[in-house]
């Protein structure tokens, strides 16, 4: 029974992924698919020599890093500043609300909030900051991808806050802070030498995993992204959806490249590594 269940586990997790990636690799090397011509490295040469691919990879990585860093900072500040309210206030359930928002709705909400005629532009207009929608700073489809970063941060930071507050309680941070105080630590030392390191160490696996998710984010860049510089999932999707069949081998090659980056991050940083249990 155990063997059957483990076989089932591999068949539903590893097998589809490996089969899909093998097919992608074979297609990109001209060994499979409608365009197979026998082994060729020309598609890989085109992909590895393409500036758009590297820009897209770097952009995705940068956005993931910025969103994780800003979200962590905001969540840490919220938990440390409002730990009493998060534990006892009647409003505390409000922090959980954004967890019920799917990425496609977050993207649409971002569009409604940050667009040229969105809620922020209306507020700016009502207090006389701008005369019309065209005067509002472009935050949607902008070259700096600010809209994407804002919306992804709005979606990530509440989740980090909920998790960090759980760690705050489970790791008994208030008690640790009290001990540090009785040992003569100043307010700043208690914050930076006790609370922040304890919470960050617990959050680290989630930061890595979330960074990987954000690296492959699709819905938000689909609605709010710039067409000239695209995140990696957008670039891959566009190559797959083009009518030009000759783009397909390159699309598969970029997919393999994306998989290599994800695997490298997962193996290198090991988010699944056991970090549960109190610091001792």
């Amino acid at each position: 029974m155990r063997k059957l269940l483990l076989t089932c586990f591999f068949a539903l997790t590893l097998l589809p992924l490996v089969a899909g990636l093998c097919y992608a690799l074979a297609y990109s090397l001209g060994l499979a698919g409608a365009l197979q011509t026998g082994f060729t490295a020309q598609h890989w040469q085109a992909v590895l020599g393409s500036e758009a691919v590297w820009v897209s990879l770097a952009l995705s990585l940068l956005i993931a890093l910025v969103v994780v860093a800003v979200s962590t900072l905001l969540a840490l500040t919220t938990v440390l500043a409002f730990h009493r309210e998060l534990g006892a206030s009647r409003l505390r359930f409000g922090v959980y609300w954004p967890l019920a928002v799917p990425p496609i709705v977050a993207a649409f909400w971002g569009f409604q909030l940050l667009g040229n005629s969105g809620l922020l532009a209306r507020l700016a207009s009502s207090i006389g900051l701008i005369g019309g929608p065209e005067e509002f700073a472009p935050l949607i489809n902008d070259p700096w991808q600010i809209g994407i970063v804002i919306v992804l941060t709005m979606a990530t930071f509440p989740f980090f806050t909920v998790v960090l507050f759980q760690f705050y309680q489970s790791e008994q941070v208030p008690q640790l802070l009290q001990i540090a105080q009785s040992l003569g630590a100043s307010g700043r030392q208690r914050m930076w030498r006790v609370a922040v390191p304890v919470l960050l160490q617990k959050l680290r696996p989630l930061m890595v995993l979330y960074g990987v998710f954000l690296f492959g984010a699709y819905e938000v860049p689909l609605l709010l992204g710039n067409q000239s510089t695209r995140m990696i999932s957008m670039l891959i999707a566009q190559k797959f959806r083009r009518f030009d069949l000759f783009e397909l081998p390159q699309a598969y090659a970029i997919t393999v490249l994306y998989a290599a980056v994800v695997l490298a991050v997962l193996i290198g940083l090991r988010p699944g590594r056991q970090t549960s249990g109190r610091l001792s």
């Binding site: 269940l5 483990l6 089932c8 586990f9 539903l12 997790t13 589809p16 992924l17 089969a19 899909g20 990636l21 097919y23 919220t78 409002f82 309210e85 206030s89 409003l91 359930f93 409000g94 922090v95 959980y96 609300w97 954004p98 967890l99 019920a100 928002v101 799917p102 496609i104 709705v105 649409f108 909400w109 569009f111 409604q112 005629s117 809620l119 532009a121 209306r122 507020l123 207009s125 009502s126 509440p158 995993l209 998710f213 492959g216 699709y218 819905e219 609605l223 891959i236 999707a237 797959f240 997919t255 994306y258 998989a259 994800v262 997962l266 090991r270 988010p271 699944g272 056991q274 549960s276």
Partner: protein, 257 residues
């Protein structure tokens, strides 16, 4: 001051839950007005009658429920095997791989196999595709549930002469009920939110609510998109509240013991 700041933060976080239903009820809401020009159920009636919103809602509920039930059941059972395995960490790493992949890119990788098996563009294909993403998550979720304490309880049943069936029926399942409910809830949400894979595998023919929302945004119909969004965010919020209440009651019961 601190309470006001916290209230302000909460207000910002819950704003879309008020704004999106309001937009769905607005007759018109042109720039620079801060509030809609009028409210009516016109968009709701239209979306229900000709927009296919009811079909999408039913489809989304059915898809998410089926995926959640199947992945929770299998994930729970397989996590039990993995938790007691000597290569537990390695097996858990395997579960992380498909879960960490961008669903849309994973779907493009699998597209060929879905086409070959005639599953592309079908509900069965979308269900299978969503299951392939949600199931590893379910395993990751449940592995932590199978603590040494629970494994010792199971061993105790066998020591006292109980059969595996008795161990599951009388000990493991009753003890695991809260975890199973939590797993069902989380896997339901994951399937309910799924968009990227559903569009690729479903090829636009399986129009779940997220697919419908994107379609309306593309058609520059913000009122219908807001309506679809409202339907997408309020049911999970209700589930979240029930889960939150249940967890709080559970903690309160433990604290009062």
């Amino acid at each position: 001051m601190k309470k006001s700041a916290f209230a302000g933060l909460i207000l910002l976080l819950v704003l879309p839950f008020a704004y999106l239903p309001l937009l769905a009820l607005a007759t018109q809401w042109r720039f620079p007005r801060l509030l809609p020009e009028g409210l009516s159920l016109e968009h709701w009636q239209l979306a229900w009658r000709i927009g296919g919103m009811a079909d999408s809602l039913i489809l989304s509920v059915v898809c998410a429920a089926l995926v959640a039930l199947s992945s929770t059941a299998l994930g729970f059972r397989i996590a039990h095997v993995i938790a007691g395995h000597r290569r537990r960490r390695l097996l858990l790493s395997v579960a992380y791989l498909p879960y960490a992949f961008s669903p849309v890119i994973y779907a493009f990788c699998l597209q060929f196999f879905f086409l070959k098996t005639n599953l592309a563009g079908t509900l069965a294909g979308v269900l299978l595709g969503q299951f392939l993403i949600v199931f590893p998550f379910s395993v990751i979720l449940f592995v932590n549930h199978w603590t040494p304490r629970l494994q010792h309880m199971e061993a105790l049943v066998y020591t006292l002469g109980g059969s595996p069936w008795a161990a599951w029926r009388r000990v493991l399942l009753p003890v695991s009920r809260p975890a199973l409910l939590n797993g069902l809830f989380q896997t339901f949400l994951l399937a309910w939110f799924e968009y990227g894979l559903t569009t690729v595998v479903g090829q636009g023919r399986v129009a779940t609510l997220p697919v419908r929302v994107y379609q309306y945004v593309g058609e520059a119909n913000p009122y219908f998109a807001a309506l679809g969004s409202t339907l997408l965010i309020w049911p999970p919020l209700l589930l979240l509240w029930l889960n939150y209440r249940y967890q709080n009651l559970k903690y309160a019961a433990v604290a009062n013991r």
